[in-house]
Amino acid sequence: MPVLRLLRRNLVVIAGLLTLAYMILPNVVVMVFSFNKPNGRFNYAWQRFSLDAWKDPCGVADLCGSLSLSLRIAFWATLGATVLGTMIAFALVRYRFRARGAINALIFLPMAMPEVVMAASLLTLFLNMGAELGFWTVLIAHIMFCLSFVVTAVKARVMSMDPRLEEAARDLYAGPLQTFLRVTLPIAAPGIAAGALLAFALSFDDFIITNFNAGSTVTFPMFVWGSAQRGTPVQINVIGTAMFVIAVAVVLLGQLIANRRKSRAGK
């Protein structure tokens, strides 16, 4: 049977393609339905092709406001978590201090704890402190849970770094600051970047913790959730598609630059 033989020979490729399809299919659905013109308020059945939503992405009340708020929170949460997380990671790898073991374990807590429990306990904490729920409480919560991911990513990188490189820099007339900026940071950069990307994605995406601690503030995931009760505007798919395309473009660009650098250095 030639068909069977063909299957057997390409089993790995077929399995790979199927997995890829499994992962990409939801995104394709979002993309396709961003060009839909639904009858009524729900965008669940295909009617006909239209560019209406793409022409007016902010056409739904509060959508772009919530999007920009989410982006702002994600930006500051990423910045805060990356700076703090990088410092914690260096401290944990490079220094021996009293509570090191405890901190190492505590850092994993936000990752291990069920998100809804974390959300509820944070709310209790904020209410007891008399904090006003809104942008700041959401930001504080996001930095907190992003921190663990940044620390994990950076720690792995710092552990594989040769401490002799920094000694070499100091030996070659670089003071402590110069050594950090010229040697330590560039070498740790891939780990820090990975941590930052992860933090951004997690913060932008987060619903449960945000929903508990946002008060009357509405982030993009909360907006989507809220509107899903009453009807789903096509613009949500437009934003989703745009984010997907931008993310893929960034990854491709990064690979392109890396490849070019490699081929140039190889000359």
């Binding site: 040769d162 002799r164 070499a168 100091r170 030996d171 070659l172 007339y173 003071g175 110069q178 010229r182």
Partner: protein, 388 residues
């Protein structure tokens, strides 16, 4: 680049030591490295040689003592303020910078903008002109090593420190780099302090070798002097191979008068010049008598009569022989020692010299040295095998 450094001076370590908690890495030691010399710190791993080097570089703080350079005390200076550069064991090239930027690193940190010409000269000195834009991981071990040397030398340091720089290279490349480093040192005239566990490397390259053991300097001197006149069993065994024979002093001799010391050992008598025995000698006391394997001649027992008078003799039986091209190495069992080593040049080989043959070992008394019998006879033997 070719002119000698006019500024600079000797490196002087005074009472310098390093302890980590209860562990003493380096015992208080005094050491002077003359300007422009190629100086080797030789010893097995853990003997304190790298720690000593790192204290000169400023990467390790000295527990006691001072480091001075050309008369200036630099003990308190951080590494980036010392006119000293290091070639690290693992090279420690910056992986994110290409060869040019690695070499230019020191110049740039001191605010020098136009580095192109100097980097070019350095690349030429280490023969890496075509590799200026490669990243370190695209270079072979030997090439990385040269970049590490260039990166340090471009700063015209007063002293270049080399921490086992050839340890990661294979034997052939190591030989080549030994000569290369020696050439570079002669060319630039900078003081080189070289840390190594390889006694051949130290003897090939250095003008002066300091043999370190257990955190202290055992002996210091020119390679030939250390080899011919070891003062301790450690040096005798660590530098090359020595046959050490314990015996009883029959006649103590006198240094000035030129009378020889006579030692009874292994049923015979061994003579040595009183000037070649640093240990105190008293009639009736014990003494270790040493002789290098290549100084010994081997004669079949049947020809014992033909050996010239006045030579030291030891009788024995060959237990093992190995042919290694230029020479044959014999192991001889004798009343004087269980496994005496003899290296014979392969010139006129006596076919009777095979394992089992009764032989006479004989050598010129001038090639015999004496050592204090109060020290372990096999000090330094194990460590050679560990390091190899």
């Amino acid at each position: 680049m070719t002119q000698r450094q006019t500024a600079g001076g000797d490196v002087r370590l005074t009472g310098i030591s390093k302890t980590y908690g209860s562990f003493t890495a380096v015992r208080p030691l005094d050491l002077t490295v003359p300007q422009g010399s190629f100086f080797a710190l030789l010893g097995a791993s853990g003997c304190g040689k790298t720690t000593t080097l790192r204290m000169i570089a400023g990467l390790e703080e000295a527990t006691t003592g001072t480091v001075s350079l050309g008369g200036t005390d630099i003990t308190g200076l951080p590494p980036y303020k010392r006119p000293v550069n290091t070639v690290f064991q693992s090279y420690a090239l910056f992986p994110h910078l290409d060869v040019t930027e690695n070499i230019a690193f020191g110049l740039r940190r001191r605010g020098i903008r136009s580095v192109k010409k100097q980097v070019g000269e350095m690349l030429e000195l280490v023969q890496l002109g075509d590799f200026a834009h490669r990243k370190p991981h695209q270079l072979s071990g030997g090439q990385q090593q040269r970049v590490a040397v260039a990166r340090a030398l471009i700063n015209h340091p007063q002293v270049l420190l080399l921490d086992e720089p050839l340890g990661a290279l294979d034997l052939k490349l190591r030989r080549q780099m030994q000569l290369e480093l020696k050439r570079i040192q002669t060319e630039v005239g900078i003081t080189f302090i070289h840390v190594t566990h390889d006694q051949e490397e130290a003897m090939t390259m250095a003008d002066t070798v300091a043999v370190m053991n257990g955190g202290r300097v055992e002996q210091l001197g020119a390679p030939a002097d250390l080899y011919e006149n070891p003062r301790t069993t450690f040096v005798a065994n660590f530098l090359g191979t020595s046959n050490l024979i314990e015996g009883e002093v029959v006649s103590a001799g006198t240094k000035g008068a030129g009378t020889d010391i006579v030692v009874a050992a292994g049923g015979g008598r061994i003579r040595l010049s009183a000037g070649r025995c640093p240990a105190p000698v008293t009639s009736g006391g014990r003494l270790l008598v040493g002789v290098r394997p290549e100084k010994i001649s081997l004669a079949h027992a049947d020809e014992a009569e033909s050996i010239t008078d006045g030579r030291n003799r030891v009788t024995g039986r060959i237990v093992d022989s190995s042919f290694i091209g230029v020479s044959t190495q014999y192991v001889v069992e004798s009343p004087a020692g269980k496994a005496l080593q003899v290296y014979e040049q392969n010139i006129e080989r006596d076919t009777r010299l095979v394992p089992g043959a009764e032989v006479v070992l004989h050598w010129n008394p001038a090639h015999t040295f004496g050592l204090d019998a109060g020290q372990p006879m096999d000090a330094g033997v194990e460590s050679v095998e560990d390091a190899a």
